[in-house]
Subunit: 136 residues, 4 copies
């Protein structure tokens, strides 16, 4: 898709052997690919420090669907005009609990703000916000 | 849903004031609810140390859908018989990139294993596995 | 030391039982103390989002002391005038490797900057920066 | 110190440019070194999943030294025979608070156990346990 560059790095033999074993266990078939993934994760983490960076996030919520108005409030937050809610997915875990995964797109700062509000809603029992930055 | 108990805790006045300010900013309307959430998160994190604990997880993947056979391999992993794939959600990010959120249920150890394999597939550019433990 | 306030919270019986078991395993003799600790950690984590908040940090470095000038460079960074280096502790791990723990005080932003520079010095094999915010 | 191997990896040009900018900001003068550090961190994190792996840890504690017997209890835990306490460092933060950094060596599982007990002592206001695995 883009131009490729080839770079060389030198590594201690035993470090390389341990790395090869780790990535084989994880399922990599290719060392280059594993190193590229480390670099991408490092860059993605660094970008998250900037509240204005663009990101995609999943908000993972476990909630009690018997709590009245919770679903409405969640929908309201998803339609707040600051953020673009791309999609959401709903799973029935048991008689009381639902799992909802909401995919948001927006700035890192806005996602944290809206994510915190979702997690703090009455009836939400566990919540987790996870961001991945995307290059524009 | 279950029996409720009322407990009392004593806190330094200034600690309480700072906590009240933080939870108001996060959107809590109720201090009890905020403390319950801290307790639930603490318990959920502790349970994740046990590879046999039951969990629900989202695997968040950004991948290049032009890479051949990637979608097939991802589907194959979702249908591996060790884990129950509950659902998945697919979003087109741009001409090259897709976001896929896969919801898995299983033991903590199995989820980590399958999650690592998904993240390490050729063509997956960024991946993140997030677990929430659930009481059976 | 400061005024104390007593607050009541209500909790599901089974949640409370699981929490009591967890904190007993961790060594707490007192439920109030365990909840106060959760609140303090939550506040400390929230304060770390502000690059201007005051913090104390440990920089944990494993390095090869045969690499020339590394010790000098580390000392130089510790005496950079932006930060107050409170103290440091040096441990010989084996023939090649030293562990150095450097305690810094300053703003969250400055600590991250100097910590990154320490971790990236040639000869440093592993590094980790950990911050705890302190109320002034 | 050990044998060195040279490997080649191919990377998208724009990914490489962004990585070069990030590592320059962190203070790296050498791309090979930055990639080796990513690999070492990845290996160290993977080793921490094994409770029997050998590790070095810092326990960072902020505590109120007016709480009676706390110092004695901390010393007692440091001399528990399961772990080797290498060293500790004590800093006076203000009239009430001390910072103590305790360096422990032992298995990952033992360090977590003893670290939890230190953090849960009455009078300890904030605590953080950080591990780095070491190759034997």
């Amino acid at each position: 898709m883009k131009g490729l560059e080839r770079i060389g790095i030198s590594l201690e033999t035993d470090l390389l052997a341990e790395f090869d074993a780790l990535i084989a266990r994880k399922g990599y078939t290719n060392r280059s690919e594993a190193i590229r993934d480390l670099i991408r994760q490092d860059l993605s983490a660094a970008r998250l420090d900037d509240p204005n960076a663009q990101a995609v996030a999943t908000v993972l919520l476990v909630y009690d669907h018997h709590v009245t108005k919770l679903a409405d409030k969640l929908l309201g937050l998803q339609h707040s005009h600051l953020l673009e809610t791309i999609s959401s997915l709903h799973v029935h875990l048991d008689h009381h609990h639902c799992l909802e995964v909401i995919v948001l797109r927006g700035s890192v700062g806005q996602i944290h703000r809206v994510g915190d509000q979702m997690v703090s809603l009455k009836g939400v029992r566990l919540g987790r916000v996870n961001l991945i930055t995307v290059k524009d």
